[in-house]
Amino acid sequence: MTGGEVVLRLEKITKRFGDLVANDEVTLELRRGELLALLGENGAGKTTLMNILFGHYTADSGQVSVFGRPLPPGQPRAAIEAGIGMVHQHFALANNLSVLENVIAGTESILRPRSDRAHARAKLAGIAERFGLTVDPDARVGELSVGERQRVEILKALYRDARILILDEPTAVLTHQEAERLYRTLRGMAAKGLSLIFISHKLHEVLAAADRVTVLRGGKVVAERPAAGTSRDELAELMIGRRVARPVRDQRAPGPVVMTADGVDVVGGGVKRLSGISFTLRAGETLGIIGVAGNGQAFLGELVSGLARPGAGRFELLGEAVTAPGPRRFVAAGVGRVPEDRNANGAVAEMTVWENAVLERIRERRFSVAGLVKRAAGRAFARTVVERFDVRGGGPDTPIRLLSGGNMQKLILGRSLETAPRILIAAQPTRGLDEGAVVAIHAEILAARRAGTAVLLISEDLDEILELADRVQAIVKGRLSPDIPIEEADPRRLGLMMAGLWNETTDAA
């Protein structure tokens, strides 16, 4: 497919924001019928580059040409007319309108007395048919699943006669099955002559879906590879700029039981959020809880951190039934936590790194005596965490809000692990982090497990679960599936479990 004509060419694009060079003489070509992956860590300049292409930003120097003609800079309208369509990570759809209305919105003059629905409907049906993007044109967008909404976004671009399609992190919000389906669709679109660029930092997707991979690092193109001629390790190294050894989970015999739930309900806001969940967590093992976001993970995270009261059923922490929970009690019992939303539940943005490091343990004698904070001890503790867990971007007295997401997460994980917790609750520990930070976090979680910590890993990332967990349960609509050993788990079976079909899979097994 790489023999087609060049449809899009970016030449020596440079863009500065103050002192930061977001794009440094980036040159890129896209051919007809090609599916190109733009790979890079957060902050590598991928989104900036695509925003320049689409006219949201103006480059400081360089030239964009589409179908051989230069594109005037800074005009999204011109980009659309030249045949470029963009599907953003965050959808721009009106939930109260139908699919058809969303698709035609903005394509007709506002002064036109009535819109030509019949014509629009026929055109949309034609596009949907041709590219296999089936969506009911009369469905309300608010009632569609995330995957379907994304299809509407793609249809919107195609309806405007896009021949070049840019997708920004298209699978960030999708389940494994939806992502696979999306990539089949994208490949089909490329085969029918469209040209596509998708932005990603997920290596396996890039390898599975793209024809060619362009790797950006620090605003520069560092490599271009045909997807067939590269490997996951090579891409990771190119993307991060150094060799990364992916941590390996070794076999271990689990220790004693530290936490159990047996038929536990959790009620929140008068609604049953978790119903009859059961699990057992042992020292020195990782229990993975896989599930699509919004299926009760937040409430499970609260239950196991002492932030929610168990209703019916029995919930035990270190062999004792929990009837009066409380975060303080759980912390004292040795429960460390990486909360799902680190900004809302983990860190106090305006306070410094050292204050955030010790807040959870401020009542302990080593951090305060007679009501006075031992600031030197707090700073020393923070310095230890910063060094051991390689937190970059600031020292003990930096406000924590100035750290990047990955570094903030390392600090939150580090402040728990530094005290050798008996149980570690890790809820979506690597969501939104780039590859370098993911590897670091995974290595620390595995090291904690090796040291005998029981790890409860709540995640929606199949790779993360497969890499870290010893046993897996799926969470679906507030219920937990029975557990399966990781040896029996593969993406397909986990996908079915995440869809709530665990009875069928156990029958089949």
Binding site: L307, P327, V331, E350, I362, V373
Partner: protein, 307 residues
């Protein structure tokens, strides 16, 4: 002659600033814990009437001052129960508290209007008050003036150095994070609110026992609102709040002197401190300082822990 009037004016400025400082230092603690209590004017009036009544009937200004702090704290307790336990809206409850305080203090104080009470004795610190100029200004004030400065320093030290102070700051910035880290959000907010009420009560007592030793309906005349603005003006930092309080005290005294010098209606000058409040708030919220406001992130947001 000139030296003498400088001494007099300076002493008067300090005196006019003290009630503002009490109230603002208290409200600062309340707001740093994430609670917005707009009932300061009401709490101040209750402190003023309680302090006056108890001093007059017992003859003991110390008992009066204690009663004033207690009256402010009781008002604050009502606010805390409504907003922190019953989750009522903080702005609406605070406004109601002000109106309630105005009415209740007028009712309780109706028998005391026009009665004289001996002003608080000036403390003459050994030898220091004999110093020229500085002596009478800085060292010839009554005990409440010193207390207000000590209180401000104490608040600064408390927030920075103590464990409860650190917890309080965390709770004001992010109640949800603080709660999940095991900090007692509601208890700390209760205590902070009570402290703010007691401080407002002291500010009121200073008015009715020292500044103008008598009771008059609505005698705070908006000082509670100025104190609220001062907390913003001081960007929630104690020493800046102190500087703001003295600045506004200065404006209050200067306008009194200006009334003699210019032939304009007295009301025009009486407006000065309030106009200054509006001007300062406008400048700091629109000027280049914008964004470095430092307001506690969870200020005024209700929080109900799940367990």
């Amino acid at each position: 002659m000139i030296a003498e009037s400088i001494v007099n004016i300076s002493a008067a400025v300090i005196s006019a600033s003290t009630p503002l400082l009490f109230v603002a230092a208290g409200e600062l603690v309340v707001e740093r814990s994430g609670v917005l209590n707009l009932g300061v004017e009401g709490m101040m009036l209750m402190g003023a009437v309680a302090g006056f009544a108890v001093t007059l009937t017992t003859g003991s200004p110390i008992l009066g001052i204690v009663a004033a702090a207690a009256a402010g704290a009781v008002m604050a307790l009502a606010f805390a129960v409504l907003t922190l336990t019953l989750m009522a809206n903080q702005v609406a409850t605070g406004l109601a508290l002000t109106i309630f305080g105005i009415g209740l203090s007028a009712l309780l104080g109706s028998g005391f209007v026009g009665q004289p009470v001996p002003a608080l004795p000036k403390l003459h610190l050994a030898g220091l008050s004999e110093l020229p100029v500085i002596g009478p200004v800085l060292f010839g004030q009554d005990a409440l003036v010193y207390l207000s400065v000590i209180l401000t320093g104490g608040v600064a030290w408390f927030l920075k150095r103590t464990r409860p102070g650190m917890m309080l700051r965390a709770i004001g910035e992010s109640a949800a994070s603080a709660h999940s880290l095991g900090l007692p959000v509601i208890r700390v907010r209760y205590l902070a609110t009570l402290f703010g009420g007691a401080a407002a009560g002291l500010g009121g007592a200073f008015l009715s026992l020292s500044y103008t030793p008598m009771w008059m309906e609505g005698m705070t005349s908006g000082r509670g609102w100025i104190a609220l603005a001062l907390v913003v003006f001081g960007s929630w930092r104690p020493w800046r709040v102190l500087a703001g309080a003295y600045l506004f005290g200065g404006v209050t005294i200067l306008q009194l002197h200006a009334q003699g010098a210019f032939h304009l209606p007295a009301q025009v000058f009486s407006m000065a401190p309030y106009l200054a409040t509006i001007a300062v708030l406008t400048i700091i919220s629109a000027g280049p300082w914008r964004g470095r406001f430092n307001a506690p992130a969870d200020l005024g947001k209700p929080f109900r822990p799940s367990v």
